[in-house]
Amino acid sequence: MKVPLSWLKEYVNIDITPKELAEALTMSGSKVEGIEELGSGISNVAAGKIISLEKHPDADKLQVAKVDAGSGVLQIVTGADNIKEGDIIPVAKEGAALPGGKTIGRGVLRGVESVGMMCSIQELGLTRYDYPEAPEHGIFILDPGVEPGTDIKEVLGLDDVVIEFEITPNRPDCLSIIGIARETAVTLRRELKAENIMQADKCRSSLAGRTQGSGVSIEIKNPELCPRYIGRVVRNIRIEPSPEWMRKRLRAAGIRPINNLVDVTNYVMLELGQPMHAFDFDRIEGKKIIVRTAKEGEKITTLDEQERKLNPEMLVIADAVKPVAVAGVMGGANSEVSRDTKNILLEAANFNGGSVRLTAKAMGFRTESSSRFEKGLDIENVSRAMDRAVELLEAMGAGEAEKDDVDCCPVKWEPRVLKFRPDRINALLGTRIDKEYMVKVMRELGLLVDEKGMTVTIPSYRMDIEGEADLAEEVARFYGYNNIESSLFSGETTQGGKTLKQKVEDMCKYAMNAQGLSEAYTYSFVSPKTLDMINIAESDSLRNSVKVMNPLSEEQSMMRTTTIPSMLEVLARNYSRRIEEVRLFELGYVYTPKALPITELPEEKEVITLGMYGSGEDFYTLKGVVDELFRYLGIRNYEMKRASDPVFHPGRSAQIYISGRKAGIIGEIHPDVLENYNIDCRAYIGVVEFRPILENVNLVHKYKHLPKFPAVDRDIAMVVKDEITVGEIESVIKSCAGDILEELTMFDVYKGGQIPQGSKSVAYSMSFRAADRTLTDEEVNQIMHEVIKELKGRINAELRG
């Protein structure tokens, strides 16, 4: 909302700088977005009087003018031909600045000295909408009454300051000069001088409304969507430019002047906040206005020449035959005011905000009018606006209004009455503001306070005030939020803290960081194509997903059912940037529908996703990270089994089971998948579900005595067939070594050389220890003998060396 300061000053005395005013209003709740000085690009331009005009001695198309610019007489050479002696014109003096950064100096044209320049309206940054009487080409000739030497900014109304406000949706009353003036008056503790336009006409025509007036009848079929409609006929219309003062104000407020009719409706909308509309009355069939919902299949061509389909949810203004406007949104072309219009019907109405909003939304466009109506406007303002518009039209001789309007007001409007409990207001704010202060503020805002009954009656323009908390806000805004003393609540002490889940999440992140994995954040929605990219079958349950109805693009249309594509994309991005080594993890969610179509909220499953590539990485470094995570969290009851998953390398991937339940997968990514992501090296990804981790953590640590007796160490190397896994060897060793085997560490796997093809050599170091005695060599030898025998018997291992 742009508010010209000069307009505001008509209603409130303002004697502080625009910056101070902006600060004060911002702190009382009308946030100032910016302060614009009109004409800030113009300097040293004044009104000048042409005192003589002669032909240039040396050029046919030039003239030499002597101009009285107040401060002296300037000689200016000009090519303009629309000027004569005695004209008052804008003159840019030597050193003048014009909009667009142009500066004016002195020069010599064909031997004649020229100082300064006479200006056209374009050169002053204006258009013929602002000054229709100005020539399209040539010098702008000013009113003959203008005193030479007057600053041009003053003459053209460019000496004004415009303050732009950000108005929150609950305050449509502040989308008007009068609304901002009221806020300003209360903020600055000044009087609001607005009696002339604030005499609110109650719905004066009583409940049924006076629906018959001179020449027009009005009927409201849907009073819940249109509680009030006023029509007034204005005859003998003379369409011409509106007066200069009105054009100046509209321009300053950011609205282009058009003609007197349009300008008056815009002016009233700005001044009072009530959108209005003018119909060509002679094109209203049956001289009848019917406010009704549209019929199935009805269409209307709106003023912007778009044909729009209507539906029975939409409210229209119709004549006896057809819709002539979409209520509160835009008028129809079929009743548009034109140059030939003789009589008009002015409309001022109140429409249901929600209905206007949904209609505009369904049509896919918003207008200045609809964006105001949708916030819910003041029902009493309707008659005020009509009176003001008629007053203005008549004052400028634009037509003659019929004596009475037709005010159709089928809904009896009752003002809201609230309890006034100063103690409760103070209790909510934490203040000790006295009652008198509260009463004063509320009265200045136009609220009617009954100090006997302790009630507050809310005026129709403040429908946002619904309850006590709203009253508290009104008081607090002007008392000053920053005058409220800071305190800390004195209630019950609360323990606070993180839940176990939150603690374990933190531990997971810590374990990842400690192992060199940095944390990634990726979007929760992905392209459905990502499932193709990672080889997921058409029938796979990962294809059952939560879809966004209105995504920004296909790329972001599916809530992910797996995090693997997200991580692959990140790896691919790093790879494409020639980064050689990457270790990342993300703690994020996948979204699994419980039923399709969605009837209840999907399951949001938390997963840890690991991703890495680089020269040092292989399956085992990834596995090591997971092993270490589990060790850190005290999870022992897990195992890894060969996986069979199309995303992964069939020989280098493993399914993770915790407590016998599938809990994740790790492995090298299948080369076909890597190719889809343009990753040209081996890459490794792991996904571990968080819930099984949480259910199996063991964070209770009990001290075990440090060993008192020495350990006995033995090494063992054997040759086994390739198919025998290290896991099998270890389970044989562990099963026969028993409790005193303290550590079993594989230190070498070797193939080739003297080892026969199809076999491998595996070497372990073993450490034996008993808690209660020193083990003897014989004891350990006995066990080793057993181990070797079992290895040979069960997996056909040949002992080496």
């Binding site: 702190m27 709740g29 946030k31 929150t168 949706p169 909003r357 916030k375 209790a427 704010l429 934490g430 203040t431 309850g467 006590e468 908390a469 508290a472 806000e473 805004r477 939020y481 920053n482 409220i484 003393e485 800071s486 305190s487 800390l488 609540f489 209630g491 019950e492 609360t494 323990q495 606070g496 803290g497 993180k498 939150q502 992140k509 990842m512 400690a514 060199g516 940095s518 944390e519 990634a520 954040y521 979007y523 929760s524 929605f525 939560v546 879809k547 209105n550 920004l552 972001q556 990140v570 790093n574 940037r577 980064i579 270790r583 990342l584 993890f585 179509p597 969605i598 909220l601 949001e604």
Partner: protein
């Protein structure tokens, strides 16, 4: 024999003082004090002495032994010190060569900001509450005083799953879920992911994070809100930080405020970061709307509360001087390793 002992002592002392290594010293020790050493040989010859001479010579021999031992020890210490010194001299390395690090990973800047904020409020007795990202529109809008026709629904371009289910546009629905399930006193913060239909650019992302706080109890005031936010802002932005509350509008709080902190770059003088205003808008806050309390079965005549919320990305970008929000989602490892 006495003379012999004197000679041994003199010779030994001379040789010890001339020894150049601990190895030579060991040789001298054997030569004089060993089983076949000179002193031992003399003592062995004591049998031929008279009973009167024997104790005298014996004592002398002991004195000589002690003297030699002492000399050996002293010389040994010096020599070994010298030898260590020589050895270390040969072991100098280039200490400017890079260390062998086990590189730790880095927390994402958003996590760092969220953790920091969590810590502050945990210290003030808050709990951390969570809720679903795919949410019923009831919790996201209706329960928060934003009915279907409310213009505020236009301010937030919502991703819809269907008529009733959406991607939450704010973390406020978590507040509703907490109030439905817990009796006051309630003190929670709710960090989380939220979604709005904003195209990606340097300052927008369709997925971003918020942290909201909610306190509900008997007698909670707007002064308490101010006091709590002051503590929070000082903890995050420094102890000299000032805050300022401006009246604003949110459907679910009344009175509502926008909270500015004095610019942490220029301390309020005006700079590029605060766009010359000296203040940076960081938090939206207010007293919980009585209608919202009622919606959750909490009697607004008995209880009151405050709520506040902030955007994590905004804070992270300000904190780490990040000029493009997209960097936070690209996960370029060179970016992540900077934090």
């Amino acid at each position: 024999m006495k003379q012999q002992l004197e000679n041994i002592k003199t010779n030994a002392e001379k040789e010890i003082s001339e020894a150049a290594s601990t190895q030579q010293l060991e040789g001298l020790r054997v030569k004089y004090l060993g089983k076949k050493g000179e002193l031992t040989a003399v003592l062995r010859g004591m049998g031929s002495l008279s009973a009167e001479e024997r104790p005298v010579i014996g004592q002398l021999a002991n004195t000589v032994r002690e003297a030699i031992e002492e000399r050996l020890e002293k010389a040994g210490e010096e020599l070994s010190k010298k030898e260590t010194h020589e050895k270390l001299k040969t072991e100098y390395i280039d200490i400017t060569m890079p260390g062998k690090a086990h590189r730790i990973g880095h927390r994402h800047p958003l996590t760092q900001v969220i953790d920091e904020i969590k810590d502050i409020f945990l210290g003030m007795g808050y709990e951390v509450a969570e809720g679903p990202e795919v949410e019923y529109s009831y919790y996201n809008f209706d329960a928060l005083n934003i009915p279907e026709t409310h213009p505020a629904r236009d301010l937030q371009d919502t991703f819809y799953i269907n008529d009733k289910v959406i991607l939450r546009t704010q973390t406020s629905p978590v507040q509703i879920r907490v109030m439905e399930n817990k009796k006051p006193p309630i003190k929670v913060i709710c960090p989380g992911r939220v979604y709005r239909s904003d195209a990606v650019d340097a300052t927008h992302s369709p997925v971003f994070h918020q942290i909201e706080g909610l306190v509900v109890d008997k007698g909670v005031t707007m002064g308490d809100l101010k006091g709590s936010l002051e503590i929070f802002c000082k903890a995050v932005f420094g102890k000299d930080t000032k805050i300022r509350l401006r009246p604003h509008h949110f459907p679910f709080t009344e009175p509502s405020a926008e909270v500015d902190v004095s610019c942490f770059v220029c301390s309020g003088k005006g700079c590029r970061v605060c766009k010359g205003e000296g203040w940076i808008e960081i938090v939206g806050a207010g007293m919980v709307h009585p209608g919202v309390l009622s919606n959750c079965g909490i009697d607004p005549e008995v209880y009151s509360g405050f709520a506040f919320g902030m955007g994590v990305e905004r804070m992270a970008m300000a904190r780490f001087d990040i000029d493009d929000m997209r960097l936070l989602w690209e996960n370029d490892i060179r970016f992540l390793k900077q934090f």
